[in-house]
Amino acid sequence: MKITFDWIQDHLKTNLKEKHLLKQLTNIGLEVESVESLSVDNELLKIAKIIKAEKHPNADRLKVCDVDVGEKEVKKVVCGATNAREGLITIYAPPGAIIPKTKTKLTTAKIRGVTSYGMLCSEYELNLSEESEGITELSTKYRKSIGKSYFSKSKSNLIDLSITPNRPDCLGVRGIARDLAASGFGKLLELKEKKIKSKTKQTLKIKIKKEKNQGCNAFGSCLITNVKNTESPQWLKDKLISIGQKPISAIVDITNYVMLDINRPLHAYDADKIEKDIIVRDSNSGEEFTALDNKNYKLDKGMCVISDHKGILGLGGIIGGTRSGTELDTKNILLESAYFDPKSIRNTAKKLNLDTDAKFRFERGIDPLSIESGLNRAALLIKEICGGEVSKIDIQETKVYKNQTIKFDTNLFEKISGFKISTKKMIKILENLGFKTKKDKKYLKLTIPSWRPDISQEIDIVEELVRISGYDKIETIDPIKKRFKSTLTQTQKLFHFLQRSIASKGYLEVITWSFTDSNYNNKFKGDKKEIKIVNPISSELGVLRNSIFSNLCMSLSKNLDRGFKDISIFEIGPIFEGPNPGEQSTVVCGLSAGKKNRLSWIDDERNVDVFDVKRDVVQTLVEAGYNSDKFFIDSETPNYYHPGKSGRLFLNSGKDQVAAYFGEIHPNIIKVLDIKTESLVGFEIFLDNLKIPKKTLNDQKKIFQFSDYQKSERDFAFIVNKDVSSQDLINAISVVNNKLISNIRVFDVYEGENIPENKKSVAISVTIQSSEKTLTDNDLEKINKLIIETVENKTGAKIRS
């Protein structure tokens, strides 16, 4: 909502200055978004006429124009607009002027070899409208004003307010003035409303059809005959220009003015183009009409339309049609002032994807009692400026508006706000806002003003009182430093632990979208189903991610393309399994690319490999408190991993839920996604599958015990089939004697010469120690034998002699 202090003062008597106004507006909840000085900057922008427009000698799309700017000398201006033509009256900005939209200062410039002295401006560049095609076209009436400043010399700045959707009343200057007055910023001036005194009847018959959910329940109108639509008088033009609107013609300007001043949207029809009566009704399915935005709309059933016997004239409260629009030669006008239901307006506008000023206002709720005053204001102004005869006002109503009342417990104010004001003060504030009040013990019986559709319960009254009293009156109560419950749950603690644990292993944490490109997602979704977003921001972000790998691969590629080679990144966040709330799980997902020890003078360079990520995963889980002795690992992994070089990790051999996958990314995927790296490995840790122990880490610990008796290390080399895993061997050994065997470690794996085909040699070091005595050679020999026997029996291994 754009206003000026000048305009505010049409409704408010105050001695305070503009800087106070700005502060006060924000203080009462009418946030000042920006303040622009129009007058000073814009004084240089002048009304000018193109005398000659010729093609630019060096550019097909440019023109060189001779422009009359009211000075002796004609200005040469290079212009790219297609509508730049001889005789056009437009707006000229000389070198030194600042273009309102872009805030850039113009200089004399050579454009393709021709010097341009200034510029001809589009409406967009002047902040007059969103129209950026072509330069501004002014009517021929401006020819007398060539050389004069287009914008008025008002000293008032343009103030842009952000009005919250609950305050339709403040979409009119008067509403803003009323709020200001209630807050003590001045006195609200009474509207001296003149009424139409007419003996002529409104002869056009209006009917609101009785339909269920009819969006219009009151339609006021009057006929104005024999008008002469003309240019608006200077005061009106200045007013509109002062808030950045472009004057069009008196009738349009007047309806706009009344709307901006008291938030009463009106619509003017060319009465001669209306076929017999006006019927307000629901649309039929498939009905069409051309709106004033020159677009054709096909309607659904049940949209509120204004029609005549020939068809639709307009969408009530949203946009009028071209067929009955007023033009400069319009003689007879039907002026409409109606009430449309906000819901109905919103539904229709949403379905048709239409946004207009009227729609914006009606969907927030227009004062139902402003029908008559709107007609009075506008009709009398039209008569004054355009002449003609005004008829009596006709109002059709299907529902009579009644002011709502509310019983307000005055104690609620302090209970919510934490501070006190007297009932007397409450009454004063509310009455200044337009409420009628009646005191009844601790209650106030309030009648809600018709322009405040946002108020329906007691809490709304508290809001009004706090807002107008000022939020600075709320005293600050310091918080109490007391905790009733631990801040984080065990799962949340684990989340933060894993996050920092992975990062501490050299991974950079990234945050990527929860959605992704379905082409990438398909590579990593495994057996999950794709979840489409109905209205994605772009097709590359069209699905919820089934895995974090898709986004990580994209990010990795970007960084590889930047010339970085050895990169480790990870993300901890949601992946999605279905389109319903809760069908998601938390995953820590990482990628590591390139080499270890690249260009090292001391260590051998090598590709990152599966055992690097295996270490990262296992170490992280161990750090998080899980016992690696119990881990069970096999090679069943999803298809985006290298089938031979990847693993699946369970926290124990019960294999109930996968704790993690790790491995090389499938070479086909690397190829298809064109990831340019020597080696790419990744992992996924599934947070939701990690069992949270009931006991704390501290409670899980056994009593601290250790053995001082001598330990001995024995090495074994077994020949086994290739498909026997080292885990099988270790498991076999560990059950031999868990009291004596304290550590088992694979230290060599060998295939090739001297080993039969399909076999491998695995060398294992076993630490044997008793907590009771020093073991004798005999004891050791016994356990050695047992180890060999057990392994041979269980795995088909043969001890290597």
Binding site: N166, I416, I459, Q499, W513
Partner: protein, 355 residues
């Protein structure tokens, strides 16, 4: 001069001139070996007249000890010289690079979430979570934003079905609903998380982060709200003074509602928080609307309290001088290294939130 004296002088001289271990060992055996000069003298003791024997033995022992000590010293001296010579030869160029190390980073948003949680933890808030995919009811209707409410226009929503029943949450406020439906009052929670709006330009990204706050109890009023946020902002920005402004606003799920601005100025191209005459909006808040409480079966006559929603990314930008919101999700290796945090930098109250 006696034989003994002669032997002594001769070998002291010899020892002086020798510089390697095998020569010393030769001397050692020349003196103390089976037929060594000193050994021979010891064998002579029996043949010496009684009157002189005592003195001879004493002299011999003295010389033996003296020479042995000298030899030991000499050996140590030579060994030291050898080691020193060896170490001197082993000298390397210590300015060569160390073995490669990698350094991980924590994303500024994660760090900021930890900072926020740490601050609210001090004043008794616990952390709640909710799903990213929400139903229309929790995201809007339960929050007093029925269909056809113009406030819905401010949330450009991503939908997952044509009926617009399932969506990506546009704010963290549905966690309020879930929390209150799940438990009984009082409630004192924060809920940080991902939020989504189909909006993308210089200052908006389709995904961003919010932290929701909710405190419901008997007699929690706007003064508590002001106190809580005042405390949070001061702690978060780690400044002594902070200029803060509460101004009225509107959200369907709170009433009265407020927006909070903090004062700032631009110094040398960087934002300085807490000073200056410019205002920056950083959060929205208010007293939870009675309609919302009714929707979650909490009696608004008995219980009341406040809620707030803060943009986490924005806070991180302000605190750490990051200009571009979109860079947060760009995953640029250089940016992550520049703005990321060391994983050991866990924000805590006693060490301070940041270094």
């Amino acid at each position: 001069m006696s034989d003994l004296k002669k032997i002594k002088d001769e070998f002291i001289l010899k020892l002086k001139n020798k510089s390697n271990l095998s020569e010393i060992n030769q001397i050692k055996s020349d003196l103390f070996g089976k037929n060594g000069l000193i050994s021979l003298q010891f064998k002579k003791i029996g043949t010496i007249a009684d009157s002189e024997r005592k003195k001879f033995a004493a002299d011999l022992n003295g010389i033996k000890n003296e020479l042995q000590d000298l030899i030991s010293l000499k050996i140590i001296e030579i060994e030291n010289a050898d080691i020193n010579e060896k170490l001197e030869k082993e000298k390397i160029d210590i300015t060569l690079p160390e073995r490669a190390f990698v350094r991980g980073r924590i994303h500024p948003v994660s760090q900021t979430i930890d900072e926020i949680s740490s601050i609210f933890s001090e004043i008794g808030f616990s952390v709640e979570e909710g799903p990213d995919v929400e139903n229309e009811y929790n995201n809007f209707t339960a929050l007093n934003t029925p269909d056809n409410h113009p406030a819905r226009d401010m949330h450009d929503t991503f939908y997952l079905d044509e009926k617009k029943q399932k969506l990506l949450r546009t704010h963290t406020s549905p966690v309020q609903i879930r929390t209150m439906l799940k438990d009984k009052p009082p409630f004192k929670i924060i809920a940080p998380g991902r939020t989504y709006r189909s909006d993308s330009d210089q200052t908006h990204s389709p995904m961003f982060h919010q932290v929701e706050g909710l405190h419901i109890d008997k007699n929690i009023n706007m003064g508590h709200l002001k106190g809580c946020l005042n405390y949070f902002i001061k702690e978060f920005f780690e400044v002594e003074k902070i200029k803060m402004r509460f101004r009225p606003s509107h959200f369907p799920f709170t009433e009265p509602s407020a927006e909070v601005d903090i004062g700032y100025e631009i110094k040398d191209g960087k934002i300085v928080i807490g000073e200056g005459d410019k205002w920056l909006e950083i959060l929205g808040c208010g007293m939870v609307h009675p309609n919302v409480l009714k929707n979650v079966k909490v009696d608004p006559v008995k219980f009341q309290g406040y809620a707030f929603g803060i943009g986490i990314d924005r806070l991180a930008m302000l605190k750490y001088g990051i200009n571009d919101l979109r860079a947060f999700f760009d995953c640029d290796y250089r940016w992550l290294n520049h703005f990321g945090f060391d994983p050991l930098d866990v924000p805590t109250n006693y060490r301070g939130l940041s270094r």
